[in-house]
Subunit: 197 residues, 4 copies
DNA sequence: GATGAATGAGGTTTCATTCAT
DNA sequence: CATGAATGAAACCTCATTCAT
């Protein structure tokens, strides 16, 4: 399809996408309230009414970004759960892979990550869902005898999410560390503990 | 005491304190932007100009609350560091006590906690300071041979703060868990790990 | 007739007519300002620019509807005046027939009626013309000795229009009464009065 | 009370009253949609936010005016009903007095009248209430044998309101006729009819 | 004949903040 | 110490209308 081969409505779709991208950037870096529709459109080379051609309101565009984040995040965690680890994998490896996957996604979508974890009104809800998912996995592995019986997997799951969140913003998104090594750090710490025996 | 029996200035100080308390509540529960000066003053039984008698601006009153949080938090962690643990204490106990102290404070000041950890623009900075403090302690204990050499104490400190933050909001501030047991959970998890040997 | 069998322009005329009809409906029921061009075109299955293919502006389409109403209304009253009543007719009958004719038209064009009587900026002007017409008739009949000399036919004509307008909206357009009986009610009331002799 | 004797809040009350008065004028002459808050406040020598100090919205200030109209109108018709006509009064006089009272009020409040009868979304409702009130009176007088049995008092009441409305705008509010003579015209017409016996 | 895309202009409303008393 | 009254600034949003295809 040549440069004149634009599909019907292609240019509108482009504008919409552009607005979404810029909005994500603004929301991520300025927060909801400091993000002005006027800024978004002017960065897109458009005027204000154009914004309302594609989104009902400022709130709604945020929602769209949040849903995008939520969906991708849970799709991915779901998929990674189904992907059967090779038999040989140690539990360490299996968990590390899961966490790596999450980190990879967060790294690929830094703006959505800031939005979904911080800016969104539903941020807490999203994290809760993540906790629930992780907790499920942990419990099944606990039943399999991998983890101490006395561990409260709710607390552990919350902790993991707390750690992931913190390291995401302090080490991952600023390029200080990569997904793999971060995941490894976490797994090693949590599995074996800090104490010298 | 007659209507003129109030000590001069007392009532002003009272109003100021009241405004601060209400502002903390509003900021904590509505966030900065959804907190309206008009709401604060009306809850205080005052009028808008009265607000500006005590605080230069909405931003400034937030600052004051943030500084209050920061100061208390670091005073406390400082003091707790100086308080010499009994010789006999295990490392487990020593760390647990430190974390308990932090949790106790956060629990006593739930509004300031939300403000210092979430609402404040300097939230990240505050957490970084906390990380630094914890990291110092950890390194010294690592040098004393308590912890594995290979552990990156920066990551560990970040993780601890991440865990503390998360558990504060999901377990502590809503009364689901108390400081001691939370601290214990954390210490046990981090010191000994999850793995069955 | 195949899909290309339409006579050129036919479809354009159809669109124009459709837009007019829908606009009449919207103006009649929502008023001028609550009627949105976007609504009109979308109800017509068209897009906004299409609207401007047929009408210069929202104001102009209203004008066209108003003129349609005005023309029809005065055509009809004119014609009904020329149609010679049978010699035998009582004055009662003659007037009743005139009013019936008006009501019939208003009933057939409820939307135009609402527009011409309420929505149009020229509503007052239109009613004034109607008053003038009626007044002329009345005066000639007064000269013929049918009506009391002392009656101010200006007031009477205004009254008749007032009554017609009110009964149109409260009894005619909602189907509560038909043109004939309404006309009769009016004529009886005005000719013979309410009083028991 | 001297010129410095202003009661607390007096000046605010003045602004509010002024805004109401100007708004009434604007609504009456420009209609709701062509009335701009900016015009109202600038005519009052104020700025836009001042408007919202006294009224929640443009819609609400219209409502307040409408209610003012409605209340006054019905208060007055109520009172005039209770005021016992002298025994000696003819039915003609009694009715004329009632209509005169209404006209006097409409004349005193030309802006509210335009608002209540034309501009208000509830205009129709208000007129309906007026019709109901008049109808009641008429029926009781019909039972007393003053009026023909065959008259449908619903139609008559609607007619009276139609006439009042029309004559108000075409004869009363522009000073062409006074309340008394208008009322007389109406009563004479409706009671005795137009026909020469 | 019709559309996708966009805009100019303007309107209502909100809120932190200040002035004069 | 406090208030009544007001404002500057700006945000979001709507709508009729047009341009280029």
């Amino acid at each position: 399809m040549g440069q004149r081969g634009r599909k019907k409505g292609a240019i509108g779709e482009e504008s919409r996408t552009l607005l979404l991208k810029i909005a994500a950037d603004e929301f991520a870096h300025q927060g909801y309230y400091e993000t002005k529709v006027s800024t978004i459109v002017s960065r897109a080379g458009l005027t204000q009414p154009a914004f309302y051609l594609y989104f009902q309101s400022k709130e709604v565009i945020l929602q769209e970004l949040v849903e995008r984040f939520r969906t991708k995040l849970f799709d991915l965690t779901h998929k990674s759960r189904l992907a059967p680890g090779t038999e040989i994998e140690t539990i360490h490896q299996r968990i590390a892979v899961g966490i790596t996957t999450v980190f990879r996604f967060l790294q690929e979508e830094p703006n959505l990550t800031r939005i979904g974890f911080i800016v969104a009104p539903e941020a807490e809800e999203i994290k809760k869902q993540l906790v629930a998912l992780i907790k499920e996995n942990l419990i099944s592995e606990q039943k399999d005898g991998f983890f101490h019986d006395h561990l409260d997997m709710d607390i552990v799951a919350e902790s993991i999410v707390g750690v992931i969140e913190r390291l995401t913003f302090t080490k991952l998104l600023n390029g200080l560390k990569d997904p793999e090594s971060l995941a490894n750090d976490i797994v090693r710490l949590l599995l074996y503990g800090m104490l010298v025996d």
